[in-house]
């Protein structure tokens, strides 16, 4: 629709993401989408977008953008040294930008991923029902790739805000993360290792990206009678798979089937904490039941509504 930004520098990995591509998982098309739903939700609420509108997701260093059309933006996620025309600007607020302005999301002081929403949402074609970039399949977003210098980013139709919006709090991303997880689906392979899993700290390794996070820590040894691999089966975000070496890998949104046994599955409301964890950060797991996880999901839905109500008041 409206040419809104020109990319001056994209940062190491900045992609357009939305709530994800859920309709073709049975055909091997992964969900993709934002990894931190909390930060992306706030960013969209700040600029008056419907939930799930397409935003920029930046890993570590954010993009530098030249503004081409007046717009409201909201930057959330990793606490960044956001500047507009070189002037430090707080995150988790809406910011009015005008043609010629330079927005620089900067490098995070804590956390790993930042989100930039624009009023009207980033306008790229819907591919199989979503605007999310699926890098492995080269679809969605900008021709299935991450942002590059010189790209022009468009936004959809939007009405500028009557007054700025600000969330009266924002999450701090520490270096120690607690993740609630439901044991299984193959917990019986790990009867002894489950205690290790829920009692021990793990460290995020350097092999951590949008596909998954490999964790370092005590080896999770499966029962002697348990097979090393299983017949390939459906994968969901948050599955903690354990290959034969006993080193767990948390799978995120880029895979639909896999053949490794899963000791536990992180609940969806806690995945944002992992998305903001960096190599070297510590992760601990806490067991919850399915019934408890459903109660937490209800609390989170209520919390997300509260955020919208608060910002739209």
């Amino acid at each position: 629709m409206t040419d809104t930004f020109r990319v001056i520098s994209p940062g190491p990995l900045t992609t357009i993401q939305d709530a994800g591509r859920t309709a073709f998982q049975h055909m091997g098309v992964p969900v993709s989408g934002v990894l931190d739903r909390y930060a992306a939700h706030v960013a969209n609420c700040l600029v008056g977008n419907p939930a799930g509108s397409a935003v920029l997701e930046a890993t570590l260093v954010g993009p530098r953008l030249e503004v081409l059309a007046e717009a409201d933006i909201g930057v959330t996620g990793a606490a960044s040294a956001l500047t507009v025309n070189g002037v430090p600007t707080p995150g988790w607020t809406s910011v009015r930008v005008r043609p010629g302005d330079v927005v620089d999301a900067g490098a995070p002081e804590s956390g790993c991923r930042s989100y930039l929403a624009v009023g009207g949402g980033f306008d790229v074609p819907l591919v199989m029902g979503s605007r999310a970039t699926y890098l492995g399949g080269r679809i969605g977003g900008l021709d299935g790739r991450s942002l590059a210098a010189g790209d022009i980013l468009k936004r959809g139709p939007a009405r500028l805000l009557d007054q700025p919006r600000r969330l009266p709090w924002f999450p701090l991303y520490g270096t120690q993360v607690i993740l609630r997880a439901v044991p299984g689906p193959q917990d019986e392979y790990f009867r002894t290792a489950l205690a290790t899993f829920f009692d021990s700290p793990f460290t995020v390794s350097a092999q951590a990206n949008r596909m998954g996070y490999r964790l370092e820590g005590p080896a999770l040894i499966r029962e002697a009678d348990a097979p090393a691999s299983i017949v390939s089966e459906p994968i969901v975000a948050g599955n903690v798979q354990v290959p034969a070496d006993g080193r767990p890998i948390v799978l995120l949104n880029e895979q639909t089937l896999g053949g490794y046994a899963k000791i536990a599955t992180i609940i969806t409301p806690d995945l944002f904490k992992l998305a903001q964890a960096k190599p070297g950060d510590t992760v601990r797991f806490v067991a919850v039941t399915v019934a408890e996880s459903a109660a937490i999901a209800r609390q989170w839905a209520a919390f997300f509504s509260e955020i919208r109500t608060l910002l739209e008041r």
Partner: protein, 235 residues
Amino acid sequence: MSGVFYDRPRFRACGDRALLAEYGDGIDLALNRKVHAAANALRRRALAGIEAVIPAYRNLALVYDPLVVSFESLTAAFTALESELEAAELAEPRTVDIPVCYGGQFGPDLSFVAEHHRLTPAEVVEIHSRALYPIYAVGFAPGFCYLGGLDPRLHTPRLPTPRTRVPAGSVGIAEAQTGVYPSDSPGGWRLIGRTPLSLFNPSKADPFLYQAGDRIRFVPISEADYDRLRAAERP
């Protein structure tokens, strides 16, 4: 690998918003057909709160919204479904023809596969194109089929060093598996031919030619037919 059937599906929690329903263990065509019959029945019912039905070899995942349905209500729905499935005949699987130009520039490993098994290239094509290959599951990449049914006479080891780029449509063999690459990707399969059809077209409302549970038949075509069909695929 043959399969084991359970008397009734076993349910496993897969986090806060997915349920795995498991019908047995192993890789087995009858077991797999049961999974796809259940997946189709679930899709027809369009239960509230279901976001995705993902079938695999021996189980399927139901991705659900825990604000709308509970794990318990879904297992109850499954139990009701079971009686329906017993009563209804499993539908005969659909057969999808995939034209393939074997050998030459499109099948650089056809002669290797032939020599490896002391067959002629024509015999490899004949054996490969005679079979009906059930699609056990689709995954790994968009539209990538896990096919059964490769004749043991064609089981061939992978390339020692994978190619950095295999063109979309390439038909290959790796050990006991055969399959088609739906998109350009790196890969170590022995390539014996290529289809001119686009197996994955994200710009179409229905981006795929087949689904899990169908059977695939590879139909040999000439290079001239390949060119003609390829031209027709391009808008």
